[in-house]
Structure formats: C-alpha cells, structure tokens
C-alpha cells in the first residue's frame, strides 16, 4: 500500500501548484438523424433498436442531427422529444445541422450547438452489431461477454474483447496485443501489450501472474516497460487508475 500513498502525495503536490490541468480529449458520441418529426412510429422503431442493443446505447452521449427534420420548430415538441430520449437513458447533449431557429431553441433549452464531426467507420459499427443478436437473447439481457483465450497469444496477434473482460490462460508474447473493454487477466507470462478499459472504462484493471509487458494501458493512460518499476518485473502485479494516474503494484 505504501507506494500508492506516495503517489497520492505526489499528485497533491502537483495539485497545490496548479489547481487544474487542461487537456484535449476526444469523445465518441452517437448521432441520431431524424428523418421526420418524432411520431409514435419513431419511438416504436427507437425502442426496437434499443432492445436489440441494450448496452450499446445505455447512457451514450447523443447528438440530434436535424438535417432532415427542419419542420420541428415548436418549443413544446422539442422539449417532448428531448424528454422522450432522456427517459430512454439516452444522454442528449447537443444538436447539429438544424435551422437557425432550431439551433436557438436548442441553446435556450441547454443543449450545445455542434458542427462538424465525422461518421465512425462502418466496419466498427458492423463489428458491434454482428454479435448483438446473440447478446440480446431475451432471457440473458446482461450475458457476460468475457473472452477466454487458452492458446498462447503470439507476436503480431491481437485479441480484442470488445464487450467485457479478457482472460488469457497462456503466455502473451512480445509484439502481441490484448485489448479489452473491461479488465484483462493474464495467467501466463505477459510480455506484449495490454490495454484495458479500451472504451474509456476507468475502473478497468490489468492483472498478471508475471509482468514483463511492453506497455500497459487503462482507459488510454499508459505506462511503457521503461516506466515500470524494475522490482515488479516478472512479479504478480496489477495496474489500475487512481487520481488520473496509472498505478502499478505487486499482488500479495
């Protein structure tokens, strides 16, 4: 526990000098392009989509794209739409491509007016959709998405657990890459790279039996092998985020 406390102290010392840090950060939002005013058909279709992929949209930041919905100008209708979406746990925070009246109305209602943005590559969308039918089986809406790998992960191979934890019951060679939305566990030698919390989950952790990794990352914050404590080399260790810092400590 000792090393963690020192790190906290260090963070506090930095904090005393500068009360904030400014960093550029990229976020992914979902754009909802309405093709007409929000009628009952719209909500039915939306609910069907949400049932199909319950986790994908849960609390996801949403932007309303009004390019094809210029006739929605009435304040009450607008409020109803936002409330309708927020009731479904969709975090609407901005509008895009609206008329100037629509944009002004949105800003009045506390939304942001956004411009630009780029559609995510289609293959990523497809990858997310393909496993969906299995995941969304009505009986197991929260089926665990842990990926277990029992073969050695060789140099040049990449294993991606896009919905949950990744457990490797073999060695991970240098030049291999593990990526998981959740935690990563490695029960052989970890010599490659391990990136946990790839979708931004800051509570994700990396656990390994024998640490010899080239790189460890949690939610985008990383440590290279040179920055790791040499005393932890080949030790049982875990990596986690604390105070916006990637901490590495031995497992007892």
């Amino acid at each position: 526990m000792q090393p963690v406390r020192t790190e906290e102290a260090a963070v506090e010392a930095v904090a005393a000098i500068k009360p904030f840090q400014i960093r550029g950060r990229l976020f992914t939002a979902v754009a909802l392009r309405l093709s007409a005013g929000p009628d009952q058909d719209f909500y039915d279709a939306l609910d069907a989509e949400l049932r199909r992929m319950p986790h994908f949209f849960d609390s996801a930041p949403f932007v309303l794209d009004l390019a094809q919905c210029q006739d929605l100008a009435d304040r009450d209708a607008f409020v109803a739409l936002i409330e309708g979406l927020r009731r479904r746990n969709l975090a609407v925070f901005g509008v895009q491509n609206g008329t100037s009246a629509q944009t002004a109305l949105a800003v009045q209602l506390g939304l942001l007016s956004l411009s630009g943005g780029r559609d995510a590559p289609l293959d990523r969308v497809e990858r997310k959709e393909r496993p969906a039918p299995k995941q969304a089986a009505p009986l197991r809406p929260t089926a665990p998405a842990t990926l277990i790998v029992s073969e050695p992960v060789r140099s040049g191979q990449k294993v991606y657990a896009d919905r949950g934890d990744l457990v490797v019951v073999a060695s991970v060679s240098s030049g291999a890459e593990l990526v998981a939305a959740g935690n990563i566990h490695v029960y052989g030698q970890l010599r490659g790279r391990a990136l946990a919390g790839a979708n931004g989950n800051e509570s994700a952790r990396i656990f390994c039996q024998s640490l010899d990794a080239e790189l460890l990352a949690v939610a985008g914050l990383y440590l290279t092998s040179e920055e790791m404590d040499p005393a932890l080399r080949r030790a049982r260790a875990q990596a986690y985020l604390a105070n916006d810092k990637l901490c590495l400590e031995a497992l007892l």
């Binding site: 060789r154 040049g156 073999a170 060695s171 060679s173 030049g175 010599r191």
Partner: protein
Amino acid sequence: MSKVIVITSGKGGVGKTTTSAAIGAALAQRGYKTVVIDFDVGLRNLDMIMGCERRVVFDFINVIQGDAKLKQALIKDKRLENLYVLPTSQTRDKDALTQEGVGQVLDELREEFDYIICDSPAGIERGAHLAMYYADEAIVVTNPEVSSVRDSDRVLGLLNSKTLRAESDGREPLKAHLLLTRYDPARVAKGEMLNVDDVLEILAIPLLGIIPESPTVLRASNVGMPVVLDDKSVAGKAYEAAVARLDGEQIAVRIDTEQKAGFLQRLLRKSA
C-alpha cells in the same frame, strides 16, 4: 499416410534450407520416400545445397502452370534411393505460385511420397504463406537469439490461423516442432545467446532437436551434400536424432559440439 511438413522460421539465414535438405535426406535414409520442395521462388538455393543444380530442367512453377509434368520436374537424388527434389524457378517470383496450383501439386505428390518437405522462404508473405498453407506439421527453425525467436513466434501465430488445418473445422490442428539451430553452448554460457529454456518458455512448443553450430554444415552446403551424409559431423548426427524423434522414437535431446571433438582430437594428437 503421407505427411506434408513445412520448414519455416520467419527470419532469414537461420538454416531453413540446410534443415530441409538434412531432414529430407535423413527421412530417406530411414526408408521413407521423401520429396523436398523449394518454395523460395526466384532465389533457388535448395537444389544447390542438395547438389543437383546442374540437373534442373523443369521446375515447380512449370508444373503449377501446366508446362511440365510432375515426373519431369522431380529430380532423383544420386546418393539416396528414396530422395527427390522439386526445384523452383530462378527467373520467376512468388506471384507465380497459386493456392490451387500448390494444392494440386501437393495432392499429386501425396499419392506417391511418404513425406513432403516444403522449404519455406523467409518472411511471412505469399511464398511463406503458401509453403505452410497445406502443411500437416511444421518444423520451426530458430536460432537462439531474440529476433529469430520473435519471428518464430509470429510464424507460430500464422501457423495456428492462416493454414488449411486452422481454417477447416474439426480437423486436428497443425503440429509444430521447434528445431534450435546454430546453437553454440560457449556463447550461451557467456550470455551472448539465449539458452534452450528461455526459447522454449517463449515459444511453448515441443523441442524436436538442437543442432550445434558447426563448420561441417557450411562445408556440406558448399559441396552440395545434405549434412546428415557426413558421418563425422555432430550437426549431421543431431539432425538424424531430430528426425528419429519426428518418426516417433523417444531420444533425449543432448548437445554435442564440434569444439569437444576438437579438444579430444588435440589430446589424442598430443598423446600420439
């Protein structure tokens, strides 16, 4: 039942072609009808190492493209009854290899031969991919140094994913063996080379044999003779032991070196 074995490594210069020639010859010595195919199109070396470069008329590419019959391209070894070589083209490149063409030639060879040894080119591109694609087993040739081990690891990943056996469901996966070549115990002791345990820990596949670094290997290559045909070579003996293990015999892996023999010879000379 015939077996297709690919000799591969990823890295160049580790001894794939030497190993292909030696293992082919050792299998033939054990009475198996064996053919060694050169997949290194454009860099024809196998026929030189096997001493038949002056007898090449038709090659593997001619057969794939239908310009020659397989029988016309196969070269029978002059020293060993059961050994054949299928040389490659020096003037073409790897694009001349097609997956169907290679598959057809291998199917035809399977009807006649017990062992088909595919000598892979270095790298992981087309030539190397097609050399491993139809293999039943693989011998991964590795030198005890980090870059060779890393490349072998990469190749093992490809063997487990980019081969016919990996792609077809329900088939037994391809069996990979490690052959450690150019092993120099003196340099391992000095820490200049990885030791056997380090390599085995990283690659995690069964060890087929350890071939000690030996000047007899280069000498054999220069005269176009598979090193197993040199009775005095410890490397040749190590290849024979490796092939015996490949054939299912249980022999402990040991490391003999040329230096030891030299030391003994010096002693003998002194006492004489």
